[in-house]
C-alpha cells in the first residue's frame, strides 16, 4: 500500500515536472539564422537573368530545383504574396488576410496562413509554390506531397526581406526588379539612419489586447526595424513567450522601471474595440511613464508590422523614424 502511494506520487510529480520544464527559452530564430548568415551577400551581385534549371537554397535551408521558368506561381501568405508582386510577378493564390497589393485581391483565397487549403492550391495547378518560412514550416510535408517545387521565403528581420526579395526575384526570373527593390530599401535605411538624432530613444513595442499584450524583442520584425533605426528596445534579452516568434511578456514593474520614451502598439482585436493606446493613456498606473506623459504612445498597423513583413519595409521604416524621432525626421516625407 505504501509502495503504491509512492508510485503514484512519483508518477504525478514526473508529469508535472515534464510539463513545467519549459520555462527556458527554446533556441529562437532557427528559421532566420541561415537568412542572417547570407545577408551580407545580398545586393552586391549584379542582376543577371536566371537560367533554368535552377537550384536555390531557400530560407529554410532547403535545396530546391526548379526545372523551368514558373508560369503559375502560388504564394501562400501575405509576405510571400507581396514578394511575388514586388518583383513583378503574379500569384494565383493568396492568403485570406491579404489586401495589398490591389492586384492580388483577384487571386484565389486559399484560407488562413496557418491552415491553407491544399485542394484549392492544387486546383490552381501551380508549377511553383512559395510558402512562408516563418509561418508555415510545419506544412512542409503536405506541400511537398502536391508534387510541385516548394520554395520557402519569409521575413523575420529587415535582412530577411532583402534576402527574400533576392530569392524570389531569382526564382521568378525577375532579378532586375528584385535588385531595384533591394537597393531602394537599403538606401532608405541608410538615409533614415543619418537623419536619426544622436540620443537614442527607449522604445517599447507591444502587440495583443489591452488586457493581454506581448512585447516585441529585437528578434521580432518590428523590433528589428526599431533596432536598425537606433532605438533602444526595453524588451531585449528576455525569453520568447507566446504565439509570435520574437515576442515576450514583460511585467508591469519591468516596464515602469525601464521608462520607455516611445510606446508603439499593435492592437489585434475587432475593429472598434478598445486599443492598447487608449487603454494605456487612461490607465493611472501608466501615467508616469515618459511615453504616456509626452503623448508618444501610438497605434501602428497590424498588417504592416505583424501580418505582412516584407517589401513594404520602406514604408514601415519611414513611419517608425517619424515616431522615434519626431524632431529631426527625414525631410522627404
Amino acid at each position: 500500500m505504501k509502495m503504491r502511494t509512492w508510485l503514484i506520487a512519483a508518477l504525478v510529480t514526473a508529469v508535472f515536472v515534464a510539463a513545467a520544464c519549459g520555462g527556458d527559452s527554446e533556441k529562437s530564430s532557427t528559421a532566420t539564422a541561415p537568412a542572417k548568415a547570407t545577408a551580407a551577400a545580398t545586393g552586391t551581385a549584379a542582376a543577371k537573368a536566371t537560367t533554368y534549371p535552377l537550384t536555390v537554397t531557400d530560407m529554410l535551408g532547403r535545396s530546391v530545383t526548379i526545372a523551368k521558368q514558373p508560369a503559375a506561381v502560388a504564394a501562400l501568405s501575405p509576405t510571400t504574396v507581396e514578394y511575388v508582386y514586388a518583383v513583378g510577378g503574379t500569384s494565383k493564390t493568396r492568403s485570406a488576410s491579404v489586401k495589398v497589393p490591389a492586384e492580388a485581391t483577384s487571386a484565389k483565397d486559399i484560407g488562413p496562413s496557418y491552415q491553407p487549403n491544399f485542394e484549392l492550391i492544387a486546383a490552381e495547378k501551380p508549377d511553383l509554390i512559395i510558402a512562408d518560412s516563418v509561418l508555415q514550416p510545419q506544412l512542409k510535408q503536405n506541400l511537398e506531397g502536391l508534387n510541385v517545387p516548394v520554395v520557402y521565403a519569409g521575413a523575420q528581420t529587415f535582412a530577411d526581406v532583402l534576402k527574400g526579395l533576392e530569392l524570389v526575384g531569382n526564382v521568378l526570373n525577375q532579378p532586375a526588379n528584385a535588385t531595384k527593390q533591394i537597393s531602394s530599401l537599403q538606401a532608405k535605411l541608410a538615409d533614415l539612419k543619418t537623419k536619426a538624432a544622436a540620443t537614442k530613444p527607449k522604445v517599447l513595442a507591444v502587440n495583443g489586447a489591452p488586457e493581454d499584450f506581448y512585447a516585441a524583442k529585437p528578434e521580432s520584425y518590428v523590433g528589428d526595424l526599431i533596432q536598425l533605426l537606433g532605438g533602444d528596445n526595453v524588451a531585449k534579452g528576455q525569453p520568447d513567450v507566446g504565439r509570435f516568434p520574437g515576442y515576450t511578456k514583460l511585467s508591469l514593474e519591468t516596464i515602469l522601471t525601464s521608462s520607455p520614451d516611445v510606446v508603439l502598439a499593435i492592437t489585434a482585436g475587432p475593429p472598434g474595440g478598445k486599443t492598447i493606446t487608449a487603454a494605456l493613456s487612461e490607465n493611472p498606473a501608466w501615467a508616469n511613464v515618459p511615453a504616456v506623459k509626452n503623448k508618444r504612445v501610438t497605434e501602428i498597423s497590424l498588417e504592416l508590422y505583424l501580418q505582412a513583413p516584407g517589401p513594404r519595409a520602406g514604408e514601415a521604416l519611414d513611419q517608425l523614424a517619424k515616431l522615434l524621432y519626431p524632431i529631426g525626421a527625414s525631410p522627404s516625407q
Binding site: Q138, N142, D240
Partner: protein
C-alpha cells in the same frame, strides 16, 4: 409443487428477424458507405463525379488524382479509423466502469495522448511524423496507468475508476496547457491539431496509425464475451470463472490503445466515444458482441460526416473537428437522456 405464476401480459422482446437485422446493421453500414463516397467526392474544389472516379483510378488529369487520391482519400480513411477507434474505446470504457458517461476523453486517455504528443513536439521541434502514433499511445497508456493506480484498492471498482479518470483528465489537460503556453511559436503551430482535426493528414499518417487502430479493434472483439460477463456484476462474473481484474485491465489497456491512435492523428476529439455507444446500444442492446462492431461502424460514420462538414461549411477555412462532433452529438445525447429517463 409448482406455484402457477400470476398471469401477466406476454411482453417478450419482439424479434423481427430480417427486418431487424437490416435496421441494426444494414442502415449504419449504408450510412457509412455513403459517408465515404461523399467524403471522397466533395471538397472545396468542385469535381464532377466522372473526374472523381478518374482521379481515383489515376487516368485523368494528374491534378484530379492529387486532389482525390492524395488529399481526400487518406483523410476519409483516417476519419473512418479515428471514429471507429473512439467509438469502440467509449464502448469498452462504459462497460468496464458501468458508467454511461464514460469515454476516453472524460477518463483522461485522450489527455494522456495529447500531453505526450505536445511534450514530444516541445522537446524536439522537428519530431518525426512516424513516431507520433506510438508516442500518443504511450501517453494514453500512462494516463490509463495513473487512473488505474489511483483507483486500486485490492481491486478496481467501477466507481473509483470513473472518479480517478475525471481527476486524471483534469490533471493532464492542465499539464498540456502548461506545455502549450510555455512553448514557442513553431511548436504552437505544429500543435494546432491538438484542438481536434484532420487538417493536413495524409497517407503518411495513415500508414503509421492503422496498425494500432486495427490491433485495438481486433483486441476489442476478443474482449466482447468477457465484457458480457463483466456486465453481470463482479460477483456473478467471478462465479462464472472470469478473471475480473484481468479483464478490466485488458479492456482499459485496449481502450487506451485506441484512444492513443485516434489522438495521434486527430488531436483531442471529444464526444464520439461518449455518444456512439449509446446509439449502438439503442439499436443492438447490451450484448457486446454486437455493440463493439456497431460502435465502430457508427463512430466511423459520425467522424467521416463531421470531417466533411468541418472542411466544407466555411471553406476554405476549416472548423475544428471536435466542435462539429459536439454540435452534432450534444442534441442527440440530450434526446437519448430524455427518452431513457
Amino acid at each position: 409443487m409448482t406455484l402457477a405464476a400470476a398471469p401477466r401480459q406476454q411482453q417478450a422482446r419482439p424479434s423481427f428477424g430480417t427486418a431487424r437485422l437490416l435496421l441494426v446493421w444494414g442502415l449504419p453500414l449504408a450510412l457509412l458507405a455513403l459517408a465515404i463516397v461523399l467524403g471522397i467526392a466533395l471538397g472545396p474544389v468542385n469535381l464532377a463525379p466522372a473526374r472523381v472516379i478518374d482521379g481515383l483510378l489515376n487516368r485523368g488529369e494528374p491534378l484530379d488524382h492529387t486532389i482525390v487520391w492524395d488529399l481526400r482519400l487518406p483523410r476519409v480513411l483516417l476519419a473512418v479509423l479515428v471514429g471507429a477507434s473512439l467509438g469502440v474505446s467509449g464502448a469498452l470504457l462504459q462497460g468496464v466502469t458501468r458508467n454511461p458517461l464514460a469515454d476516453p476523453h472524460v477518463l483522461g486517455l485522450t489527455a494522456g495522448g495529447g500531453f505526450a504528443a505536445s511534450l514530444a513536439l516541445r522537446l524536439y521541434s522537428d519530431f518525426p511524423h512516424e513516431l507520433m502514433a506510438p508516442v500518443a499511445f504511450a501517453g494514453s497508456l500512462l494516463g490509463a496507468a495513473l487512473v488505474y493506480l489511483l483507483s486500486w484498492r485490492g481491486g478496481v471498482s467501477p466507481v473509483r475508476l470513473a472518479l480517478s479518470g475525471v481527476a486524471v483528465a483534469s490533471l493532464l489537460t492542465a499539464c498540456t496547457t502548461m506545455v502549450l503556453v510555455t512553448s514557442n511559436f513553431t511548436t504552437q503551430a505544429a500543435l494546432a491539431w491538438l484542438a481536434g482535426g484532420l487538417f493536413g493528414r495524409g497517407w503518411v499518417d495513415l500508414r503509421v496509425m492503422w496498425p494500432y487502430a486495427v490491433a485495438g479493434l481486433g483486441a476489442a472483439m476478443l474482449l466482447t464475451r468477457g465484457m458480457n460477463i463483466l456486465a453481470l456484476g463482479d460477483e456473478a462474473a467471478q462465479s462464472l470463472g472470469l478473471g475480473v481484474e484481468r479483464t478490466r485491465l485488458f479492456a482499459v489497456a485496449v481502450a487506451a490503445l485506441l484512444a492513443g491512435a485516434a489522438v495521434s492523428v486527430a488531436g483531442m476529439v471529444a464526444f464520439v466515444g461518449l455518444l456512439i455507444p449509446h446509439v449502438a446500444r439503442g439499436l443492438n442492446g447490451d450484448d457486446h458482441r454486437g455493440l463493439v462492431p456497431l460502435s465502430a461502424i457508427l463512430g466511423a460514420t459520425l467522424v467521416v460526416y463531421a470531417d466533411l462538414f468541418a472542411r466544407m461549411v466555411q471553406r476554405p477555412v476549416e472548423i475544428p473537428l471536435g466542435i462539429v462532433t459536439a454540435v452534432i452529438g450534444a442534441p442527440f445525447l440530450l434526446y437519448l437522456v430524455r427518452s431513457k429517463a
